[in-house]
């Protein structure tokens, strides 16, 4: 599997995800600076976490307008897998590759902790490494992770199996206590209709090796390698 990681001014999980991808694939992904419009031919494009453009105005808004994102959108339309993590998820919604928007956390505070998630749909290259309904734990660290979409959009998302991960309590229940940021329908990760694009707020690359104290993010990367090689 060949992968590329897009780097914006203010991205700061670009190195972390590239290390995790290197561990998973055995080779370094291409790092693509936001002003480059020639993106190499790859199987997976990753839009990493961080604070692109400081998250000023709205998280992800300025990055979504970057020249490289036009190319990412075009590739996504032709089926290349695109993974957006945290700020990357925000950028993908701003770029309209995914429906809805990520708003300020309901508690208004930045929140860094490990959360419980349920894998809602294992039928994608991104989630093939998990079983449906599997409970996993991943770290989150964000200020704007409160997923919003209008009622029609939410219905469409649910009808099409577009929810990849949901925030749950440790025993798998969906309720306010398991929802760290107020997301509608407890959405933590979302596919596009074709399940070729995934955006998620949790950071799989921070739970990818024993030293992280948690390896629940590794199946996501390994599953991608398996599916896209």
């Amino acid at each position: 599997m060949k992968a590329a990681v897009i780097v914006f001014p203010g991205s700061n999980c670009d190195r972390d995800v590239s290390v995790a991808l290197e561990h998973a694939t055995g080779h370094k992904p291409a790092m693509v600076w936001h002003r480059d419009s020639d993106l190499p031919q790859v199987d997976l494009i990753v839009v990493p976490g961080g604070f692109s453009y400081g998250d000023y105005l709205r998280s992800g808004a300025m990055a979504a307008q970057s020249p490289v994102m036009r190319e990412v959108v075009a590739r996504a339309k032709s089926g290349t897998r695109v993974l957006g993590i945290c700020n990357g998820f925000q950028i993908l919604t701003e770029a309209k590759l995914l429906p809805g928007a990520l708003m300020r956390n309901a508690g208004l505070k930045f929140l860094c902790r490990t959360v419980d998630l349920r894998v809602e749909n294992a039928d994608s290259a991104f989630t093939a490494g998990y079983a449906k309904d599997q409970l996993i734990r991943l770290p989150v660290a964000h200020h704007d992770g409160n997923y919003f979409a209008d009622a029609d959009t939410l219905a469409r998302i649910e009808d099409n199996g577009m929810v990849a991960f949901r925030y749950v309590t440790p025993d798998g229940a969906i309720d306010a206590s398991g929802n760290p940021n107020g997301s509608a329908n407890a959405v933590a990760g979302l596919f596009n209709e074709g399940r070729t694009v995934l955006g998620l707020m949790p950071h799989p690359e921070r739970a990818a090796e024993p030293l992280h104290g948690n390896t629940d993010g590794k199946p996501l990367l390994d599953g991608l390698v398996e599916a896209l090689s």
Binding site: A61, Q65, P99, A101, M103, L108, F148
Partner: protein, 80 residues
């Protein structure tokens, strides 16, 4: 020429910041605040002197960047 842009959340979109301000005002003892909404106020200093041209430009800026039309509305006013 100066353009003032107000970016506000669409009706029906939950406003966590507005809600929190409402709560905070209440706990500070300000009663009778029924609803609070928080938006953005962006002031643009433009070289353009023709108002129509300026409006078209600012309209495009709002569509492309300043507002996320999935959740936000915007209003453009010119001053001076």
């Amino acid at each position: 020429m100066k353009a003032n842009v107000h970016v506000t959340l669409k009706r029906g979109v939950l406003d966590p910041q507005g809600k929190a301000i409402g709560h905070a005002l209440q706990s500070l003892g300000f009663d009778g605040v029924d609803d609070v909404r928080q938006g953005k106020f962006i002031e643009l200093e433009l070289a353009e002197t023709d108002q129509d041209a300026a409006r078209a430009a600012v309209e495009a800026m709002c569509q492309k960047l300043l507002a996320n039309t999935v959740i936000e509305d915007y209003r453009i006013d010119f001053v001076g």
